[in-house]
Symmetry: C2
Subunit: 328 residues, 2 copies
């Protein structure tokens, strides 16, 4: 396949509507919730937690979908694949993606579980704890894999959370194969240290054999390699992956490109809600990557996008990201 790509980025991920609320840390402790983690919950627990939690702000969410939204806002040509149901929240999810310019061809499921939602509790310091009911996402499978979209995208971007729904995991691996066969790049984010822990062998193999551009935060990459220090994890990444960006919150990020290492500072921000910080970083990085910008500049775009996202409630951009990065 030698055609020029018609999409810069194709994201594949769980199609989730976020419900974001403030919560005191005591509320998390009472319920035994791990601060900062993502936990899967069933319908009954979702209903009980929703009743107990504070007033919510709803909007389209989902890790790779957030990345797609922010990358589109930065001017990239973006598509997304992920499964919603034919219901009100499904329409909210689809609207929020299409309205920001993301191509979203996956048809909604006509029966089965409702659209996924994540009940996100934001602590006073801005840390977010996610409780996700996967709903219709578990119906995403190889049949939903729009092969033409994968072949047409310069980068196929996969969220690690897709290792949780079994059918999605198969589609995920197949998408990577199609992309590589078409001469495109495959990118993945590890998503969450506990998700990595649940599927460590599969993650290790995928990073080593199929990933061109890896995103991870410190906890995730330590979990992946089972090492105790960031330096060890960085060495493992350098040995296995061509391009990687390892994020370290207020310490900025470390970008690896063809063995070289670049240290990128975080952008100053008043932290309101960290939901989507990593997703936004990946968006900035990839949007700069597909423009052919140098590694440190890709990291800077990531930092700028992340700083915008953490300065308000919600994981989608509320300011003009293009202006913030200084792009034409």
């Amino acid at each position: 396949m030698t055609n020029a790509p018609t999409l810069d980025i194709l994201g594949i991920g769980n199609a989730i509507v976020d419900v974001i609320a403030r919560a005191e840390d005591g509320f998390l402790e009472q319920r035994g919730l791990d601060r900062g983690a993502m936990r899967l919950i069933d319908t009954a627990e979702a209903a009980a937690l929703y009743d107990a939690m504070g007033p919510g702000l709803e909007s389209g969410g989902g890790s790779a979908a957030n990345t797609c939204a922010a990358a589109a806002a930065l001017g990239a040509r973006v598509g997304f694949l992920g499964k919603v149901a034919d219901d009100v929240l499904g329409r909210v999810f689809a609207h929020d993606l299409k309205a920001i310019g993301v191509h979203y061809p996956t048809p909604p499921a006509k029966s089965g579980a409702p659209t996924a939602r994540s009940l996100i509790l934001v602590s006073p310091d801005g840390q977010r704890t996610m409780n996700t009911y996967l709903g219709a996402c578990v119906g995403f499978g190889e049949a939903d894999l729009d092969e033409e979209a994968v072949r047409s995208a310069a980068v196929t971007y996969l969220e690690g959370y897709l290792f949780d729904p079994p059918a999605a995991q198969a589609a995920f691996v197949r998408a990577a194969g199609i992309a590589r066969d078409a001469g495109r790049e495959v990118s993945m984010t590890l998503s969450d240290p506990f998700c990595v822990g649940r599927h460590r062998d599969a993650f290790r193999a995928f990073v080593r054999d199929r990933t061109d551009i890896l995103f991870a935060n410190e906890a995730e990459v330590l979990s992946l390699y089972g090492v105790a220090t960031f330096a060890e994890a960085l060495e493992a990444v350098r040995a296995e992956v061509r391009v990687a960006a390892l994020t370290r919150s207020e310490q900025g990020s470390v970008v690896v490109a063809e063995g070289e290492v670049f240290y990128v500072p975080a952008e100053p921000a008043t932290v309101v809600d960290t939901t989507g910080a990593g997703d936004a970083y990946a968006a900035g990085f990839l949007a700069a990557h597909v423009r052919g910008l140098p590694p440190a500049e890709r990291g800077r775009w990531g930092s700028v996008a992340a700083a915008e996202i953490i300065s308000h409630f919600g994981a989608r951009p509320q300011s003009d990201l293009r202006a913030l990065v200084g792009a034409g």
Copy 2:
């Protein structure tokens, strides 16, 4: 009736879910939308506008409901009456009120139109333009008037928007009668200059004969009295209403109490989205009023609450309002 009130404030209003999106002013012009106004739309227009507008942030809204939410956050004992349908958005509306501590006894409609929504377009300068599909709100009538709740509330607070749904208008007038007969106070906000224009005679009579505490912004009070200057409007208000707060955006507010006039400055704020500014002002004012605080202090609470609301997208508080006003 001589029992002590068990509620400080009972709000009666349209039960609406907000869908807030950024919009360039060109988008408003193209569609002939009046910047800053509230316009009623039908199902077809709601669907078309939703398709055309940007990504949304959903949360419970509605003018009096916003006031109730912020007043509860300020420590007042608050109830709300207003009609939703038995659907997803109705549950979002009810959750967002109850979760902030507002008593909300109105049962959802089991049939008929879906829950109301307002498509709110926020201009780059923070001004909001509202497009409201009233849906289930038009089913609110005298049968939904919880008379015991009205009698139990120190202040019954009515939004002027309720003059639009005809059955609600009747319930509105009856609620005021019940409250007055029980020796309670009646408060009203004029809501919107165009709404005042649509029902001017009814508004004039209601302000003169049934209102103890009036809220209005400059455009609304000029529309009410058909006068050209703020000074004339202020004189008319002083002659007719015992307590009033007239808001003037960044020029602060003018509080009238028993004929005396107090000038209250606005609190400094970076304006992101003015949706709910007046609602929050009324919340602060009423929460201080029911605590017996002096007139200028009521205005200050109003200004502080409004400053919080306009500093982020969405009409419900995202910070600790009690701490912001310095209340114990």
